[in-house]
């Protein structure tokens, strides 16, 4: 009986950690003259129609407002160098603030230098970001649908065997006492 209890408790704990670890991944690709962003829960699980807000350096008014497309992509054309801020909100309880640095070379127009500049700047960069997870009803619902089916099946089986163990222990104990 105790073993089943421990197993089911451990599984519940494991699943709560899995749900917490579920966050927005942001990939930024800077290639003059555009900046493209990919937002997803993983490389293969894009977040479609997430709200995107772009802020130019040292401004509080959004430079551009929009949504990611069905593949989780979003693009914009910066007009100044410096630190740009991008806020991605999936409207299901995940918000991610990303800061990207647009270098001066990004705006170089000289054709001869252009190619080398692109080579040096164009790369997928991973950027330090801060994430806020808002707790909401949607969040927990979303988190459970993200779990692979095999984990769900194991989780359900553990619950069934756990309940069976508890009931069996209870009945057997009752019988012993008689």
């Amino acid at each position: 009986m105790n073993k089943s209890l421990i197993t089911s408790t451990l599984l519940v704990l494991l699943f709560s950690t899995l749900a917490m670890a579920h966050s927005i991944r942001v990939d930024v690709n800077i290639q003059s003259p555009t900046v493209t962003i990919y937002a997803g829960f993983s490389k293969i699980k894009p977040i479609a129609n997430a709200k995107v807000e772009v802020f130019a350096p040292e401004t509080e008014t959004p430079y551009q407002l929009g949504q990611t497309d069905i593949n989780g992509n979003f693009a914009f054309l910066p007009n100044a160098y410096g630190e740009w801020r991008i806020k991605i909100d999936d409207e299901m309880g995940h918000v991610r603030n990303t800061k990207i640095n647009i270098p001066k070379e990004f705006f170089t127009t000289d054709d001869s230098e252009h190619e080398t500049d692109i080579k040096s700047i164009s790369k997928v960069i991973k950027i330090e970001t801060e994430e806020e997870i808002e707790t909401s009803h949607h969040h927990s619902h979303n988190a459970i649908t993200e779990i692979p089916i095999i984990y769900k099946a194991i989780f359900g089986l553990a619950l069934i065997f756990g309940i069976t163990g508890i009931l069996y222990g209870y009945k057997a104990n009752k019988k012993l006492k008689q």
Binding site: K152, A153, G156, L157, L159, I163, G165, Y168, K171
Partner: protein
């Protein structure tokens, strides 16, 4: 075969849940301790059976094993079916949470009838096994079709029902092989 929430009137769903809890009480009380592991294992089989999808005629079918549950557990199949459907509903989103009662009654009726057929010892065993598996699918499908019809979702139900006839035949053969297996290993799991 799992009815989602919002198809059947909420009041009927709530009544079905109350009725289900009543049936659980009457069919599950005084369960001997030895029966419980059997119920757990059957429940586990029922739970994972829904993950095996067989594509057929533009839709997909999965084994229900309600006939087998009826053969193995008899009247104690109902509490097991209710629990399994409850877990499937909140883990896999198979069927609505509020409709668990009505789904359990549909599928429990199939298991109950399978048990009644299994008890008719004068019939040959292979025939009872196939028929029990068959009614374990066809009775829930019939009840579901009637409920859909009454809720105004009539169209296409005849088609869905005809697909379930195929599923019921497969299930009948499946329950025959399960019974054969238990006889071969000389188990007293089935009486």
């Amino acid at each position: 075969m799992h009815i989602a929430d919002g198809i059947i009137d909420a009041r009927i769903s709530i009544i079905a849940n109350v009725v289900s809890i009543g049936i659980i009480y009457f069919s599950g009380r005084n369960t001997p301790a030895e029966e419980i592991p059997k119920m757990g294992i059957t429940g586990a089989a029922l739970f994972v059976a829904s993950l095996i999808h067989i594509p057929f005629a533009g839709t997909s079918l999965h084994p229900g094993l309600f006939g087998i549950a009826g053969i193995i557990l008899g009247r104690r199949a109902f509490p097991v079916i209710f629990t399994v459907l409850l877990f499937q509903s909140f883990i896999f989103q198979h069927g609505g949470l509020l409709s668990v009662g009505i789904n359990s009654i549909n599928m429990g009726a199939g298991a109950f009838l399978a048990w009644i057929i299994w008890k008719q010892k004068f019939l040959p065993e292979y025939f009872r096994a196939i028929l029990a598996g068959f009614v374990g699918v066809i009775i829930p499908a019939l009840l579901m079709s009637i409920e859909f019809q009454l809720s105004g979702y009539g169209k296409g139900i005849i088609f869905i029902f005809s697909i379930y006839i195929f599923a019921a035949i497969v299930e009948g053969l499946l329950s025959l092989s399960v019974v054969k297996f238990f006889r071969k290993i000389n188990s007293d799991i089935i009486k």
